[in-house]
């Protein structure tokens, strides 16, 4: 029988409790246990970035992180960006630049871009390209995604 682990953590700013199987990934916890479907399963092995979330201020692939390890941490998903003005500007930029086609990869890109913008004072095209090298897109060819991220207006913070 698999061990279940009681965890307490902050999810999108809200104190949250969950009971997770020891080997469960953060991705599966978010989607199957907590009903947050904005974070996507793309590959399950950290190669595509569709599952990107932000934990303790760092972007990570939620398919690789153990849910039990969320205990005591701050976890932010795409749903949690809803009330963040900087993220709002970023999402609008994605929309206006045509950086969204099928949209499946978009939450992962938005999370990663949000993290990059919060971390770097200056985001040139080179930094953006390297910064999103772990996010795959099959529709856009990346060009408009890079333009959307570069067109940041004021970077928050």
């Amino acid at each position: 029988m698999s061990a279940n682990v009681d965890i307490e953590f902050r999810l999108n700013g809200v104190a949250t409790r969950a009971k997770v199987p020891a080997a469960m990934s953060v991705l599966d916890m978010l989607r199957d246990l907590l009903g947050l479907t904005g974070t996507k399963y793309g590959c399950g092995e950290g190669e595509c970035g569709a599952c990107t979330v932000i934990v303790d201020g760092l972007s990570i692939n939620s398919c690789l992180m153990f849910a039990a390890d969320c205990h005591g941490r701050e976890v932010m998903t795409i749903e949690g960006l809803a009330s963040d003005p900087a993220a709002d500007r970023l999402k609008k930029s994605f929309v206006e630049h045509g950086a969204v086609q099928c949209g499946f990869c978009t939450p992962g890109f938005v999370m990663q871009a949000h993290h990059l913008r919060g971390k770097h004072r200056h985001l040139g095209e080179h930094e953006i390209r390297r910064g999103i090298e772990g996010n795959l897109c099959r529709c856009t060819g990346y060009k408009k995604i890079i333009e959307a991220i570069a067109d940041t207006g004021a970077i928050a913070g």
Partner: protein, 793 residues
């Protein structure tokens, strides 16, 4: 009042219009099929074959059935099946013989995915392995095992046995032959002839959203299928036949899709399997692939071995092309086998070729089978044809651009295959792409640097493509239906048969309708993706949606406009021809003077003695032809061209080819949504880049060796080239606002241009894809064999 008195030009055509569903997608709120859960649903998993080629001796599902949480376990023995696929040689659950690693042996429906997966481990299958037919070549050897050596017999609708698919006694699945002109004459007239064998490889769609389906039979035993199909109405009909059901009792709902690219044009076993389980358990059944399963079980692009002979005169006139191809058809037949339809268009009509012969064989093997994939055979054909355009030019000492211009068709030409090039921007594509990329100067300069001793070599190469741009009449109808209503607040609801698969069709349709009706984009809602609600459309393929669904929407919108203007004409005692709709109002066409708001006029129509609503319908069938038995006919209502110039850097010490820049000139008829079309082109170019340089589905003895993103290399953001794209607006007479289809075009000639660029950089012509570093390095250092043609016994 003042602000509306004079309505200025607020045309939406050519503007940058954000996709209507983009805000929802960027917020993570869009519910794809993976995100949909129905009450009471079960999860299904498929047990796939442990062998590439084997006879199934027995299957024991008893332990799996007994597992707590398992509701059903099925094998072929448990279900009355009808065959699926293009040639009906394919049963969803296999019995008797397994022919590939994909083959579906059994399926489980259980309370959770974990239980379903664990139950698979309890199914015992006894196989008798058989010798593996690992290639088309092996399949054609005398004495090769026959993969479909017996008729496929199924119970017919009347219960009597029916031969669904006749045995193939030589492993040949399909044959195509096409001829135009007089090949012998063409060869005799040629003063220079070149011949090559080209090898085009396996790649796969890699949609970011994996395949999934949810099947539910409601209380009246009607089927609701949540499917990512690109052909919902065809699907409906085929499922009805397959399940022995009245098609009217099947509803297909298409949730937002995580990418299509042609991967969802056929019925693949997992959908019927989910339906069988739903019918058996009387619960909704959801089946979602893992990424590994997606690599293993979804269709590939058609691999092709192609032999091309081309000739021209010394003054640069093409005289003939002679093509033979062998297609590895894999274990079962899907759309990949029909790529010759498209390939022969390029071979016969990309540039003016009076004499042409084309013959192809699709041959069964134990490999994964191919489906349809953006470009549909055209990437493969163009790769060969454009390599020879360069080779012929070089052989006669003619500039490669001039040689192409000399043979590029002009508007009004009709090809020997019967394609009527009404709008044709071919020459402009060539000139504009060459000029913007400084092609001719660089081409000479880089060639002159072959012996300069530098390890890094620059090269530039050009290739053009021809593809249908106004649908493709391969099905009895190539049409699309629209229902349109405008409510009392001048809000438009557009019900279109066309599916939205991420390509932006709903936005472009809204744009066309708003332009016609003089309304803002916010005034339109597009309803699609539900066969119970929308009228018929043949499907999303052949780059047809903007053209055909666009014309359909315009037809309905024009009828609505006529009705509104007729009412306004009566009300204001002016001829309808003197009126127009702009900025939400009925206006005097000449002066722009506002007469009344559209919404007010509609309300006055509604709330009157002779009450009327504004509701219109339109079915658009493009004026194209079905091809005759010899594949001749004007199969599309319009055709589209593009020229792309690729600039590369080749590191001769590693073989790494860096794609530095792609310059494209695309004949799109007219730019409708500038943002949308740019995105399609960017994405298509990068998909072409992957095909040329990085993607390779490695299959050895029928087994996929790299079913993961770790070892199947999609292009990532740091690798994309600089992209400069120009639009050639030839204003097609039939296209909506002059537009033609563009969905596939940008992916089609990238590899061909890159191949020509590598030659320009290094003097080495590589006729096999992909141009991975090791493949290129080997070619540069004379440690590789060019592809070898195989002759049938």
């Amino acid at each position: 009042m003042g602000a509306l008195e004079k309505v200025t030009d607020g045309s939406l055509i050519g503007k940058r219009i954000p996709k209507k569903d983009a805000p929802e997608k960027a917020s993570g709120k869009t519910r794809y099929i993976h995100d949909i859960d129905l009450p009471g649903q079960l999860h299904a998993k498929i047990l796939r074959s442990a062998h590439v080629h084997a006879r199934i001796k027995s299957i024991d599902t008893s332990a799996a059935r007994a597992m707590p949480g398992v509701h059903a376990v099925i094998t072929a023995a448990d279900v009355a099946q009808r065959p699926i696929g293009v040639a009906k040689d394919h049963l969803p659950l296999k019995s008797g013989l397994v022919r590939s690693m994909r083959d579906e042996i059994a399926a489980v429906a259980a309370e959770t995915e974990e239980i379903a997966r664990s139950a698979l481990g309890l199914i015992k299958v006894d196989y008798e392995p058989l010798p593996i037919v690992a290639s088309a070549q092996d399949a054609m050897k005398p004495g090769a095992p026959l993969l479909h050596g017996e008729d496929l017999v199924v119970p017919g609708p009347d219960g009597k046995p029916l031969v669904a698919h006749k045995a193939s006694l030589d492993n040949v699945a399909m044959v195509f032959s096409y001829m135009q002109g007089d090949l012998a004459k063409g060869e005799a007239e040629a003063q220079v002839i070149v011949e090559d064998v080209f090898q085009l490889h396996y790649v796969t769609h890699c949609c970011m959203g994996v395949s999934g389906v949810i099947a539910e039979f409601d209380a009246s035993e009607n089927l609701v299928l949540y499917s990512n199909t690109q052909v919902p109405f065809l699907h409906k009909r085929e499922f009805a036949e397959m399940l022995g059901m009245d098609a009217g009792r099947i509803r297909i709902i298409q949730p937002p899709i995580g990418g299509g690219f042609g991967s969802k044009l056929d019925i693949y076993p997992f959908e019927p399997i989910a339906i069988y389980l739903a019918r058996l358990t009387k619960r909704p059944v959801k089946l979602v692939f893992s990424r590994e399963e997606e690599f293993l079980a979804s269709p590939t692009r058609q691999p092709v071995l192609l032999k091309l002979r081309s000739g021209c005169t010394r003054d640069g006139t093409l005289t003939f092309r002679d093509v033979e191809t062998v297609h590895d058809n894999g274990a079962y037949t899907s759309w990949g086998a029909t790529t010759p339809f498209v390939m022969m268009q390029t071979i016969s009509s990309l540039y003016r070729v009076p004499n042409c012969k084309y013959h192809t064989r699709a041959v069964y093997s134990n490999n994964p089978y191919a489906g349809s994939f953006r470009g549909y055979g055209n990437l493969q054909a163009t790769f060969a044809v454009e390599a020879h355009m360069d080779r012929l030019a070089e052989s006669i000492g003619m500039d490669s651009l001039e040689f192409r211009l000399k043979n590029a068709q002009l508007p009004g030409e009709v090809t020997p295959q019967g394609m009527h090039f009404k709008s044709c921007g071919f020459q402009d594509c060539l000139r504009v792409a060459a000029e913007r990329s400084d092609y001719q100067r660089k081409h000479c300069e880089y060639r002159a640097d072959w012996s300069d001793g530098n390890a890094i070599k620059r090269g530039i190469g050009m290739a053009s493509m021809l593809h249908v741009g106004g649908g493709a009449k391969i099905y009895p109808s190539d049409g699309c239906g629209t229902i349109l209503k405008i409510d009392d607040f001048a809000h438009v609801t557009l019900l279109t048969g066309a599916s939205e698969i991420g390509q932006g069709s709903e936005t472009v349709l809204a744009q066309l309708v708003c332009e016609e009706l003089g309304l803002p984009l916010s005034a339109v809602s597009v309803v699609n993706n539900d066969t119970d609600i929308t009228p018929w459309d043949v499907g999303v393929h052949a780059s047809r949606t903007t053209f055909i669904a666009g014309n359909s929407a315009l037809g309905a919108a024009r009828k609505a406009k006529d009705k509104i203007l007729a009412a306004a004409a009566a009300k204001f005692a002016q001829p309808a021809e003197a009126l127009d709709l702009r900025a939400g109002c009925v206006v005097e066409k000449a002066s722009g003077k506002k007469l009344v708001e559209i919404s007010k006029l509609i309300r006055s129509l509604h709330f009157s003695d002779k009450a009327e609503l504004v509701m219109t319908t339109y079915y658009y069938e493009p004026p194209s032809q079905h091809q005759d038995r010899e594949f001749r006919g004007d199969v599309s209502a319009a055709y589209a061209w593009a020229t792309q110039v690729a600039e590369v850097e080749v590191d001769t010490q590693t073989g790494i080819v860096k794609l530095v820049k792609v310059t494209g000139a695309h004949d799109v008829g007219r730019v409708l949504n500038r943002l949308g079309i740019e995105g399609q082109i960017d994405g298509g170019i990068v998909m072409g880049q992957g095909y040329a340089l990085t993607e390779n589905l490695i299959i050895e003895d029928g087994v996929v060796s790299n079913p993961s993103f770790r070892d199947y290399k999609l292009v990532t953001a740091p690798e994309i080239p600089e992209m400069d794209v120009a639009f050639i607006e030839t204003m097609d007479g039939e296209g909506p606002q002059g537009a033609k289809g563009v969905g596939e075009a940008p992916a089609i000639c990238v590899a061909a241009a890159v191949g020509n660029a590598i030659y320009n950089a290094t003097g080495v012509r590589i006729t096999a894809l992909p141009f991975t570093p090791e493949n290129v390095y080997r070619a540069l250092h004379s440690n590789s064999q060019p592809p070898v043609w195989i002759d049938a016994a």
